[in-house]
Symmetry: C2
Subunit: 306 residues, 2 copies
């Protein structure tokens, strides 16, 4: 997690821009140019997404430390969409950004090795190692327990990568399972959080946070505060700020006194800033929104802003 | 689920062949031919996987009702691997097989719509609908609760598709979270199972099983039996037979008196039958193993074998 934290410190900005591009988030001129070249097909749509993403990355790479492409919005355009995901990750890394692939992958151990190779490591072809998606971090689901996490820990260790395990998600129904009290009095989400502390214990970095982070929604500020206290070595990826309704005030409890301990995601507010502003320059509008977001969040994190 | 059950009945075979192709499961001659054409690259590997899968599908399509490609083993070959996944699904459907994509996808509602479009529905490009992976069924993880499942239910209803939610997985560490007792005395896996019953209640088909199935491992036969009794409308996808150690005897409890209620997966034993037999014809060996597996399982399911 150190590489991410260092970028956050250098930019005084604990935010990540979600790249969840729907076609109607993309200005018509960008879409039409891609269709003219490749047709109104998966090829054309994938080309439009890539141009939009590259524009956003260009506009944000010197002020925002990280991007988080959401795999679903690429998979829906078939393999052409997955190619755009791969190209987006490569472009963002080329521009110095930290890349978190939001895939929420999960499986039994043997299969998780394949996901770990796909997203954080490299794939062996007859003795040669080829990286596939090669992100800096991946979101994962821990429902299957330790042997579904172990192959990821190996990649984290070998390649300075990180994972974020779903603990308390930002959506309205997250409590149906996650908030249930266990027989020992702990909630399911707290138990999952404690498993993250355990999984990460051998890979704690110089800021006190391990390679195993947790996804904790901004939409549940009390639980965010509770988990920050109970999980001192677990860095948080915090969705639900802005579009999903969570405000900056509620974020404070997710951070430590240095203003570290979390990174806040915003997707739609940044991608669609041009729509809200009524401005066709989506890059300039995204940059203005990212700066506004940084300012809004630093207001509640004086330790980092200093 | 009716479409799957009808194929099981027609073939008197409650099994699904997992397509989790690692390169070293593929005979050297098949690999080398693909490399000669496309190089020792993702292109070459993806071509080898596709040829191997097509051979298996040809060998199995008149005796095995379904295939289950595991997404991880395609993602690890980048977008070229995902193209092979898409082509494998299309080929299996063309040959009349029922296709379950094992992706264990999960996310919040808005994003789950994208996954549902990607894997079960179709993607909208400027008003036209294009199917992407277009399987018959998808495995999913229910940790996020109802709003992460609802978009899938809509596709199930509109297109006669199905989902399988992880309930009690086959791996050694599945109990770390899934077996924990809740304050009300129920285990986490039972609660997840009861959520499946609820999610499926409006889409129960003519055999009494809903469009919302559950993944329950053969490696835990007592829990398989318990869940069959507690979840009368939930069809089971049962991994862990054979290679993972579960035997046919332990499967019995997962089925109803008609011999319905579940489909048993075998991946490695079928794909690698040629290795075990020391026979280079992987297709003939896979077919022999599939027939052996059917016989082994029907032995404990007299209701279906009749």
């Amino acid at each position: 997690m150190d590489r991410l934290i260092e970028r956050i410190l250098a930019m005084k900005n604990p935010t990540v821009a979600g790249l969840d591009p729907k076609l109607d988030y993309i200005p018509a001129a960008v879409r039409e140019a891609a269709y003219a070249e490749y047709g109104r097909t998966f090829e054309g749509a994938a080309a439009a997404l890539l141009r939009f993403n590259k524009g956003l990355i260009d506009a944000l790479c010197d002020i925002v430390p990280a991007v988080k492409p959401q795999a679903a919005y690429y998979e829906m355009y078939g393999w052409q969409g997955m190619r755009t995901l791969q190209e987006t990750i490569a472009y963002a890394k080329e521009k110095g950004m930290y890349v978190i692939t939001d895939g929420k992958r999960n499986d039994i151990g043997a299969t998780m090795e394949a996901y770990a190779a796909a997203h954080l490591g490299a794939t062996d072809i007859e003795g040669e190692a080829y990286p596939a998606f090669d992100s800096d971090a991946l979101t994962v689901n821990g429902y299957l327990g330790t042997d579904g996490i172990a192959p990821l820990l190996a990649q984290c260790k070998a390649r300075e990568k990180a994972i974020f395990v779903l603990v308390k998600t930002s959506n309205p129904s997250s409590g149906e399972l996650q908030d249930l009290p266990l027989a020992d009095g702990m909630t399911v989400y707290e138990r999952m959080g404690r498993m993250c502390e355990q999984w990460g214990q051998e890979q704690v970095g110089r800021y006190g946070y391990s390679a195993v982070g947790a996804v904790v929604g901004a939409t549940y500020p009390e639980m965010l505060t509770e988990l920050r206290q109970k999980l001192p070595h677990t860095f948080f990826l915090i969705p639900g700020y802005g579009a999903q309704g969570g405000g900056a005030e509620g974020l404070r409890g997710g951070f430590d006194e240095r203003g570290l301990g979390g990174i806040v995601n915003s997707s739609r507010a940044i991608m669609c800033a041009w729509k809200k502003e009524g401005c066709d320059d989506f890059k300039a509008a995204a940059r203005r929104e990212a700066l506004r977001m940084r300012e809004d969040i630093l207001r509640v994190l004086p330790g980092l802003g200093r």
